[in-house]
């Protein structure tokens, strides 16, 4: 299939990181689009990634050939749909190194996963005066649920601050994580700064005082190998739509012992064993946490995304992104007026690069870049506390994924240069 991608590259898209960007791009129908007369340069994958044909096809195949509600159905379609749906649970467990299949709960997204923990686990385990530790760089999804829990329970919300180069300041960790700490909730990779946080160390620190560690993996799982067992975390949350999968699917992984004791967070069909006016008993894991008709089609589509990522290899993906990120930081640093937030060493961070211009507001940056076909996000990126900590209003954010390469960085940098002259600077 000849696509517009063929035009945009002179050489091969393959670099020494094992990812052939041109081949990858050919799998993503949207990347052949033109935006405002320019080929689309999609640098907004941290908000949501694009989808390969295989993911789209698997949804179509499901609806055209074996859609049915799952569980309890005795007819052929119901059995096929149930098997396909349940199969993804196993694939997901394997993808993140979960020891038990039934530890994987499908939700509608990372946000719901974290809310489930904060309400179902939190309400039973956090009391007055207890401490909840989060960080200054959390996405609102891993901030507001804990803030609300603290309010409900008269618990104390404590923060791990950030250093000037956008890392967690762990210098006074023993003052922050104390005997009163019940839960430490940390983003595995920041959606604004790209920073990869030391989850394993933090989990150890949490466990030492009997607290649990909740990791927000929404940005990490799409971009690097993640193994929840090795990390030693208690809960891990992420979203399908940021890792090539469909919208409307998230994963809540939790340790079996904890999930077994945890109350349900949604009540309804499929999550019960027996229901009467006098008594209701819950089903076992994972059904206990999956009330109602699940998002069957998109969970099945999510499997195609996992296949695609595994086929490329998460190690290769990580290497590829280090390559592009290194180049991007190098090139952006050369531009007048541009300041890059977060760590400058690409091995310590992911490919979401926030930057500001001394004179031009991020919204104007985004609007201008869009006129050149370049999609970047601008704003507070659902991280207002971080913006406040960095004393900035907003940033522009270019985020890279498997279909981006050094050429995209060049296109971005050229446009940024044109931008300054457009605004008369």
């Amino acid at each position: 299939m000849p696509t517009k991608t063929d035009k945009r590259t002179t050489g091969s898209g393959r670099n020494d990181t094992g990812i052939d960007t041109n081949a990858v791009r050919a799998d993503f129908p949207i990347l052949t689009r033109e935006i405002n007369g320019h080929p689309l340069v999609y640098l907004d994958s941290a908000a949501s990634s694009q989808k390969p044909k295989a993911v789209i096809n698997s949804i179509v195949d499901y609806y055209e050939n074996y859609h049915s509600n799952v569980h309890r159905g005795l007819h052929t379609l119901a059995e096929k749909a149930t098997n396909a749906y349940e199969n993804v649970r196993g694939r997901t467990a394997q993808f993140i190194g979960a020891p038990h299949v039934e530890e994987v709960i499908f939700t509608r997204g990372a946000t719901e996963s974290i809310n489930a923990i904060a309400s179902a686990w939190g309400d039973d385990n956090v009391g007055e005066g207890d401490e909840i530790v989060i960080t200054e760089m959390e996405h609102h999804a891993n901030f507001v649920p804990w803030y609300a829990l603290a309010k409900r329970k008269n618990a104390i919300l404590k923060k791990i601050s950030i250093t000037t180069d956008g890392q967690l300041d762990l210098s006074n960790l023993s003052e922050i994580i104390t005997e009163r700490t019940k839960v430490v909730a940390v983003s595995h990779m920041s959606n604004v700064l790209g920073t990869i946080n030391p989850i394993k160390e933090l989990a150890q620190a949490a466990h030492k005082v009997g607290a649990i560690l909740v990791a927000d993996g929404a940005q990490a799982v799409p971009h690097m190998p993640v193994n929840v067992s090795e990390l030693g975390v208690d809960f891990y949350a992420f979203s399908s739509h940021k890792m090539l999968g469909p919208t409307g699917v998230g994963v809540l992984w939790g340790k079996k012992e904890i999930l077994e004791k945890m109350q349900p967070f949604l009540y309804g069909g499929e999550m019960i064993r027996e229901v009467s006016f006098e008594k209701v008993t819950w089903a076992d894991l994972p059904n206990k946490f999956e009330a109602g008709t699940p998002n069957i089609a998109d969970v099945i589509g999510f499997e195609a995304a996992l296949d695609y990522l595994e086929n490329l290899g998460m190690d290769n993906i990580r290497r590829h992104e280090i390559d592009v990120t290194t180049y991007a930081i190098e090139q952006l640093s050369k531009l007048k007026g541009i300041t890059i937030q977060g760590p400058h060493d690409a091995t310590m961070r992911g490919g979401a690069i926030s930057f500001t211009d001394a004179d031009i507001h991020p919204h104007d940056i985004s609007t201008f870049l869009d006129s050149k076909g370049i999609a970047v996000r601008a704003g507070h990126h659902c991280a207002q506390p971080l913006m406040r900590a960095m004393n900035i209003i907003a940033t522009a954010r270019a985020s890279f994924y498997i279909y981006n390469d050094r050429k995209d960085v060049d296109t971005l940098c050229n446009a940024l240069t044109q931008m300054r002259s457009y605004f008369g600077l």
């Binding site: 405002n36 007369g37 031009i360 507001h361 991020p362 919204h363 104007d364 609007t367 201008f368 006129s371 704003g379 507070h380 207002q384 913006m387 209003i393 907003a394 457009y422 605004f423 008369g424």
Partner: protein
Amino acid sequence: MSSQLDDMYRDIILDHFRAPRGKSKLDKKDFSSGGHNPSCGDEIEMDIKEENGVLKDIHVKCRGCAISVASGSILAEAVKGKPFEEVVKIAEEVRKILKGEEGVLSEDLEDVDALKGVRKFPVRVKCALLAWLTLIEGIKNYKSEDGKENPTISTDEDDK
């Protein structure tokens, strides 16, 4: 579609962005008003001097995107020296225009008219609106309470 971009960032807008009017502080102010746009981070503050029902002078300080800065600057220029009644009327017309409704501007308000280009960028409309809503709120408050309190408005409520 660069032409659409130029529709929003008209020369008039860029000119106001580069050299905002109303920059100098007032020696004396009768009331102030502030506004912000949490989702964008745009922030605006304005000090106003009144004389016999006329907006004698205005100082606008805006931290935000080109549109919000330019809009604040255009506002400063457009309302200075006009009776409050007329000022409010202009602001209300601008609000209508930005929201895509019918609105009438007198011919001398050419710069204000330049804000119309923003309508093609729906998400940016609130940036252009911020200054005008902040002014309306400030005047309303000044009239009703003799300016005892500075209002702070948030244009995200106008978001949808």
